[in-house]
Symmetry: C2
Subunit: 238 residues, 2 copies
Amino acid sequence: MRAHDQQRPLRADATRNRDAILAAAREVFAEHGLEASLEEIAARARVGIATLYRRFPSRQHLVGAAFVEKVAKYAEAAEAALAITDPWDAFTSFVRTMCELQAGDRGLADLLSMTLPTDEHVERLRAVAHAHVVTLIDRAKAAGQLRSDFVTEDLLILLIANATIVHVTQNAAPAASRRLVALALDAFGRTDTPALPPPPTSAEMAVAMGHLAAKRGCGADGEAIRLDTGNLPVRNSG
Amino acid sequence: MRAHDQQRPLRADATRNRDAILAAAREVFAEHGLEASLEEIAARARVGIATLYRRFPSRQHLVGAAFVEKVAKYAEAAEAALAITDPWDAFTSFVRTMCELQAGDRGLADLLSMTLPTDEHVERLRAVAHAHVVTLIDRAKAAGQLRSDFVTEDLLILLIANATIVHVTQNAAPAASRRLVALALDAFGRTDTPALPPPPTSAEMAVAMGHLAAKRGCGADGEAIRLDTGNLPVRNSG
DNA sequence: CATTAACTGGAGTACTGCCTCCGGATCGCT
DNA sequence: AGCGATCCGGAGGCAGTACTCCAGTTAATG
């Protein structure tokens, strides 16, 4: 790349259009999920389709740009949860916040349940958040309130399930989603039951997220998935 | 319709092709879910696409014909579970069986999570099965092993979630699905936690299933799938 | 074996979404 | 205002899927 791939600032009209596209994208993704038609986004931004592609060469660029803030909220939620003293309250508060964010935005619902290569800034946010989540989990386990055979894959499974519920239940989303989350938390908090069957490996879940991403038109299927466990804490503590 | 819309028997080659199409459909649906391409089914049956459409005018006709037997297993599973004496074992056995059927057949995974058939024969099966399920639930509740605020919508939520997991996790499906089901059952069996948030209404869930069906290309949004038992040998006809 | 109704397959239409090309409009600077 | 660099938008190519039409083939029957 050239030394100054820090390209000169966009022309005024270009900036205006870019913002319009992002606003439209946030709307449309929230309504229809990440598989929304790019043409619809361009139309809602009152912009030609070419303009959209010029600014965001691929769907995941657009997704990335449209969701930076929301992903930041994810990090914030993790951090905020850390401030809660009771380990179980902290953990459940985080999980509930995540799933509520999903329920309010179908795009985010998709995003949290898949892996998307995005920009560096977002990656850093994720990494930090992930570390916080691991802490939340460890604390809750240590307090004997989170089942000891819990793994981060379980959280991912919940996020995927919740994403679907949100997608499918449309206007009934809040009730169904809250119900699902409450059930999941009750399950996570059981310490008196026999061990769960073995969880899928994090590699398997990475592949799964890749499939999801592919299905939503973001990233090629089978392409090297960032094993970082992506958006969500998918690290398998031993 | 004319009195004898009981059309004359198909010609030998037509019957052969019809069977080939059904066999191919079962394969392809199992692999890819209900949204599989009809052209692929025709190709696998080594039949022209027109032949498929002649025999099954719409996707839901094909789906219906391909899955009658599998849906019957749903009823059988409920009945078999009733024979188990321990109420909790009976309930969990039924749930597990359902979800395992889903894990083994992505088409069925879709089908069980959308809406049940309206064909009268199958409708009867469904009604009976549903009654059995209600019995299973009541028994388990009475025994104090199933949480008292459990409702049938919770089961549906699980089926939808499981369908997605099965869809997404591909080869890791068994592990992920079993894990999800085990967690759900642990949640269902909690009697020591505060009441869950209110469930979605069954009307809301019906709408949700309609959306799912529409997304899979079966039936208009909101209308149910009609299983065609028409010219299938009716086993255990009674 | 001849006749005919039933059946067939593939080409064709229609639609949708992704993505690119390029003539023309617009901006920003002098 | 004039001018070049930048940017725009819609037409159009490509691909995948649903679904239809029709000229040719094949099974059943006497």
